[in-house]
């Protein structure tokens, strides 16, 4: 068997629908069509009446999910692209995120955001906006980097009693494959050591884990052993695992495909600086997308986001200090 990241997301939803009658899926074209990316392929057929096409109404999509959650359901909302969630933003950050705190009634909704850049997708189909959700109290923000995590974390997202922003990377949809789906997994909120090393800690998440791994392989040829922390969960952030890794390596590079200002990388560095200051022997650095919209042309796009190559360059700069 050979399962892609995208299939894992489908399988997780199939399993959630199967094992929990409270689960339903709502989103544009998720029904008979199976979704713009086919993440809900065949699910409408397998679970009649539980996979519903929505109008092009992101605000109402999220609002409806919150209402259904109040009544005990566990809706999964698919945004066609993460970028369009900005239209449903208010319902996510003000309605869903505040419900439990205000009323003690839980809000178990999962909002799936197909996010991140792919070549030729341009400014409005490429964004990485996990940070704007993580900024608001009351939300859990996940960003799996592997097929296994896509599966297990989505299952856990649906099972959790709080609203989860599930950032699934479109670049990984087809590229990433696994032998089989996991039966066990790290719990949400825990980071994973994607590669062990003693010379440098790279903290990253989602698609950038793979760029970092490629960079680590290249650096290994020069004898550098890079440790890679895959955050998995952007909020809550597993500061302990980060700190323990930095304690081992003394060096920190944070890599994010998102824009820099106030992004995940800023949050990580800020925590390490405050809590693990003595652990670092050189200043921590971050590497992000450039601070412009995401460009359309493949050449520009490749230069806009961090890549194995630019990670290697940033790492070498750290080693030179």
């Amino acid at each position: 068997m050979n399962i892609t990241y995208l299939e894992a997301i489908r399988e997780a939803q199939a399993r959630a629908l199967k094992q929990d009658p409270r689960v339903f899926i709502y989103g544009q074209d998720v029904g008979a069509f199976g979704g713009a990316f086919k993440a809900t392929k065949n699910l409408a057929g397998e679970f009649p009446g539980r996979v519903l096409d929505s109008p092009i109404s992101e605000d109402a999509m999220v609002g409806l999910a919150v209402g259904a959650a109040m009544e005990g359901m566990r809706p999964i909302v698919e945004m066609q692209f993460a970028d369009f969630s900005t239209v449903g933003f208010n319902q996510i950050v003000n309605q869903a995120a505040t419900l439990f705190w205000r009323t003690q009634v839980a809000c178990p909704i999962t909002v799936r955001l197909p996010f991140g850049g792919t070549s030729g997708a341009g400014p409005f189909h490429s964004q990485c906006i996990e940070a704007i959700y993580a900024h608001f109290p009351g939300l859990i923000v996940l960003a799996p980097a592997t097929v296994e995590d896509a599966y297990s974390m989505l299952l856990e997202a649906v099972a959790l009693d709080d609203p989860v922003i599930f950032c699934e990377h479109k670049f990984l949809y087809y590229h990433l494959k696994a032998e089989k789906l996991p039966e066990e997994a790290l719990p949400v909120g825990r980071a994973r050591i994607a590669r062990e090393g003693r010379d440098l800690t790279i903290v990253t998440y989602s698609a950038m884990v793979h760029e970092a791994l490629a960079a680590a392989r290249e650096l290994a040829q020069d004898g550098w052993e890079v440790e890679i922390v895959d955050l998995r969960s952007v909020k809550p952030m597993d500061t302990d695992t980060i700190m323990a890794s930095v304690a081992r390596t003394g060096k920190l590079l944070c890599v994010g495909e998102a824009w820099p200002w106030g992004g995940v990388t800023a949050e990580v560095i800020s925590r390490v600086a405050s809590e693990g200051y003595g652990l670092l022997d050189v200043p921590p650095q971050r590497l992000n997308a450039k601070d412009t919209p995401v460009p359309y042309h493949p050449n520009l796009w490749a230069a806009h986001r961090p890549t194995a190559r630019s990670i290697v360059a940033a790492a070498r700069k750290l080693f030179r200090q």
């Binding site: 209402g67 009544e71 009323t103």
Partner: protein, 340 residues
């Protein structure tokens, strides 16, 4: 006491309904008056938003609903809230920030409710509650619970929000038993209707969504009971979403900080400017369903009740920041510990 009047009304159903709704109207008015007084005395922090002039419409909603229905009131729905089962204690506790209130001091004034009872606590963003009501109704369909309806209330100003539109359309597509009540009180804060919309009548929106429309005189209890009752019934018996548009006038400021100097004399002098409470009283007196004396007794009983409740709440504990769980997630274990 009103029950006596009622009994003597020779079992007249109209009398019972009117008197029942009127009770909530009066209690809401008196409660609002008390909030206004507390605000002026500096006893309430933040805004105070009253439903003066809108009690007939609001009470009609509350009395048209059943226990298992969903109700998402807005800022001017004190009467409807009471009629739906809220106690004045809950209202006062929320305004005064009591730790014992439903919002435990975390949220205040009109931002109160109990989702577990189908009574939804509004967020401030106008229009945002409508799709939430849709969600509760869809959930019931999933759970094969039939015969319940959901009411969402908004002002005419909120019809300009994208949320209103998306949600009404959504309800229409799903054929949900949503009753969307628009209280057209002629102003959104200071903004007159001609700066808010350009249609002849807000009810003209209904065909564009494929939903049924109901127009009613918002300061006439009889018409409100009829119109809202009909709409709720239509929704309950699979008539799909219902759009109710009630014309009336807000007889107070947007909030108690606002003197409403922008309300035109013409509006005040028009039929819209008639106080629904007075209209209802006059009608009931004329019908002989109640006497002036009975109304006076009722009023003073209610004032007493409110005063007692306020006094009780004033003795209640304020929320204690040190005892407070500063925790937005229900899964406490997933809180980001470094966020303290």
């Amino acid at each position: 006491m009103l029950r006596t009047a009622l009994e003597s009304a020779t079992g007249d159903l109209a009398a019972a309904t009117h008197l029942g709704a009127y009770r909530h109207m009066l209690l809401a008015r008196l409660l609002d008056d008390k909030f206004a007084a507390l605000y002026r005395a500096g006893k309430i922090q933040g805004g105070v938003f009253l439903g003066r002039g809108q009690e007939a419409l609001s009470a009609s909603i509350g009395v048209s609903l059943q226990k298992n229905d969903i109700f998402a009131p807005l800022i001017r729905d004190a009467a409807g809230r009471l009629a739906f089962g809220e106690t004045i204690l809950e209202a006062i506790r929320t305004y005064m920030g009591s730790a014992l209130g439903p919002m435990r001091g975390r949220d205040g004034n009109v931002h109160r409710g109990r989702p577990q009872d189908g009574y939804l606590p509004m967020i401030s963003h106008l229009g945002a509650m409508i799709s939430v009501v849709n969600g509760t109704l869809l959930a019931r369909r999933f759970k094969k619970i039939t015969g319940t309806v959901g009411v969402a209330c908004i002002g005419e100003g909120a019809t300009s929000t994208g949320s209103f539109h998306e949600a009404l359309n959504q309800a229409a597509v799903e054929k949900l038993p949503l009753v969307l009540i628009v209280a057209n009180n002629q102003y959104a804060y200071s903004t007159p209707t001609h700066r808010q919309f350009a249609c002849e009548d807000l009810a003209d929106k209904a065909p564009g969504y494929g939903v049924e429309a109901h127009r009613l005189k918002g300061n006439d209890l009889t018409d409100c009971l009829r119109g809202v009752g009909e709409a709720v019934k239509r929704a309950r018996f699979d008539g799909g979403p219902q759009l109710v548009v009630a014309d009336l006038l807000r007889l107070c400021g947007h909030g108690e900080h606002d003197d409403a100097g922008y309300v035109t004399q013409e509006h005040k002098d028009s039929a819209l400017g008639r106080d629904c409470l007075k209209v209802a009283e006059k009608f009931m007196l004329e019908e002989g369903w109640v006497t002036g004396e009975q109304l006076e007794v009722l009023r003073s009983q209610m004032i007493h009740e409110i005063e007692e409740a306020v006094a009780q709440v004033q003795r209640e504990p304020a929320p204690d920041p040190f005892a407070e769980e500063w925790q937005a997630l229900s899964c406490g274990g997933l809180s980001d510990v470094r966020m303290d």
